[in-house]
């Protein structure tokens, strides 16, 4: 049977992380499952965790008055969900909506923030990995904004 620590250690997001740090992270981790239709978090709520999605699909949504929710991105197996736990004011900016049965590992952000403050080497390793995710999402968002398929 796969252990939580084993799953975290093998996840590409934590590739290259020393086993000591993996053990520390595992202390903040738990297996979670979301049925289709469940909101994992909602805009404006406190952001105290992030997720390594193992299977399923999650839509990041935003609401606008008198409109249906707008899906800005979908995330699936292998993706990281959530980084608002990392930076003040620790508030979610979007809704995360499980559109399929979704299994994930939840990492307690409060617990992890404390560990990162106590151990800056761990903090740097975590921040480096999130910075890469942010860079990829920013690039994708810019490309999306260019609306390259529109008729010119």
């Amino acid at each position: 049977m796969e252990t939580l620590e084993g799953i975290i250690a093998e996840h590409h997001f934590f590739a290259g992380l020393e086993s000591y740090y993996t053990s520390l992270l595992t202390g903040c981790a738990a297996n979670v499952r979301f049925a289709p239709g469940t909101y994992i978090f909602k805009e404006g709520e406190e952001a105290n965790e992030f997720y390594l999605i193992r299977s399923g699909k999650v839509a990041l949504e935003i609401f606008a008055p008198h409109r249906n929710p707008i899906v800005v991105e979908t995330l699936g197996a292998g993706d990281i969900l959530g980084w608002s736990w990392l930076l003040p004011p620790y508030i979610w900016k979007f809704h995360a909506h499980a559109v399929q049965d979704t299994r994930a590992i939840a990492l307690d952000g409060k617990c992890l923030r404390t560990k990162c403050e106590e151990n800056h080497d761990l903090g740097y390793e975590v921040l480096k990995r999130f910075a890469q995710i942010m860079e990829q999402r920013l690039e994708a968002t810019r490309l999306q904004l260019l609306d390259v398929y529109a008729a010119r």
């Binding site: 249906n68 490309l143 260019l146």
Partner: protein, 280 residues
Amino acid sequence: MAGTITTNPMLPQPYLVRDVAKETPDTFSLRLEPEAGANGRSFQPGQFSMLWVFGIGELPISISGDPALHDRLVYTVRSVGQATHSLVNQRVGDSVGVRGPFGASWPTEAARGRDVIVVAGGIGLAPLRPVIYHVLQNRKDYGRLVILYGGRSPRDLLYRKELATWARNRENQVLVTVDYGGLSWRGHVGVVTTLFKYARLEPARSVAMVCGPEIMMRFVMRELITQGLSRDDIYLSMERNMKCAVGFCGHCQYGPYFICKDGPIFRYEQMRPLLEKYEL
């Protein structure tokens, strides 16, 4: 790779419109067949024709149909201007002039025995559809077929039924995403490059074929290189203002190349220095 034209390349041959099928709100597929008594023309996947709409003008349009069917030519056209609007409003039985096929084709020989990665954006799936047909009809000659397709919104996606059919084949992986998803859309939302993380690729044994808006292709090229593909194994379809289609007029000159004659399919390695230049 270039196709052979046995008649005067500047002389359009009359074809009859046999079908006009709506693909999306502004995009239509026209099936043309030679007038009675005339021979059909074969083409290679990736080639294009010059289509004359009599009284309006001539347009370069990629062939989007099945290269194994020699009795017809299929074109998928987006109505964005006067000439394309006239073309998609042709009625069954109307006559259209056809020159070509012209240009270089997708590397079906170089891809033999290897996995084929098709990356398309928007109407860019149309010039790639013939190579998809070719791979599917010659399944034993190729490895896995991976199709990554990005569109603006669900209603702008081309060939949705065929995409679903191709996805059912276990030897294929078909991933589709849209930039803007609606409420009823249950698929991916995000740009086409975000699909790579879900694609099961073996870069060392793959050949990639890419078509879409140039900005999208630049992002895709970077992603393919990051995935480990060699620049020599990446091909793309370029588009410029083509007029004569045989390299005489120079309208489509792009650096040292004429897109109509040397392309429209190029190796990425040929195009890379030009794609990064402003004002070309």
